[in-house]
Amino acid sequence: MKISEIIKHTEARVATKNYDPDKNLAKAFSSDLMSDVLTLDEDNILLITGLSNVQLVRTAEMADIGAILLARDKNATPEMIELAEENGIVLLETPFSIFKASGLLFSNGLKPVY
């Protein structure tokens, strides 16, 4: 699913600059546990999370995550945005809960990692 479609379905704001709206992410994973994210073999996925801290972006960097969707109207901090931009990670912010955002994306065709 393209970033532009993820934005449309979840009414998301984009926190990072210079993103490619046509960047395609094949799968998604929802988690607040970074330890679980670090065990995934897939890369270039969407991570949907209720966490909002620098370690989230660091974890995404190491796990080769393509984009992060912050749920529950959480805002990315300037440090998070800087680190995400440095690593080409798109940071999105949705007012929806993790359940609602995940459900909307799943029902519109975004596949789970497992």
Binding site: D32, L38, N53, Q55, E61, D64
Partner: protein, 138 residues
Amino acid sequence: MAVKLFFEIEGGDFTQAGKASSKIKKVLKQLGPDAKTIKKVVVAVYEAEVNVVAHAYHGEVLAEIDERGITVTIKDRGPGIEDIDKAMEIGFSTATKEVREMGFGAGMGLSNIKKNTDELEITSTVGEGTTVIFRNFF
């Protein structure tokens, strides 16, 4: 071709976790191992960095890279690990509530390091510290 990288990590400061793995990732990308191998190495280094920040007072990371592979040594001054076999079990953790709120401390770090490395050796002295050495072949 031989590259050595050295980093220091302060315990307790979560902003420090990721500095070594981030730099190692950038260097490995230039040296050319495939993306899957790079991800395995940097996930293992990052897990080890998080462990130092979460549990120890101070740590040092040494990464030695040559054409055959990478050896990473993470040595910390800290409480040490009483029972390494127990610490390797998935779900066993002594992490604080603060560490768990960051999204870590689920007792998965050491087993994930083992999963992502070709060779792993952990030695520890209670009250002094822990040394983790691992190697990945390219």
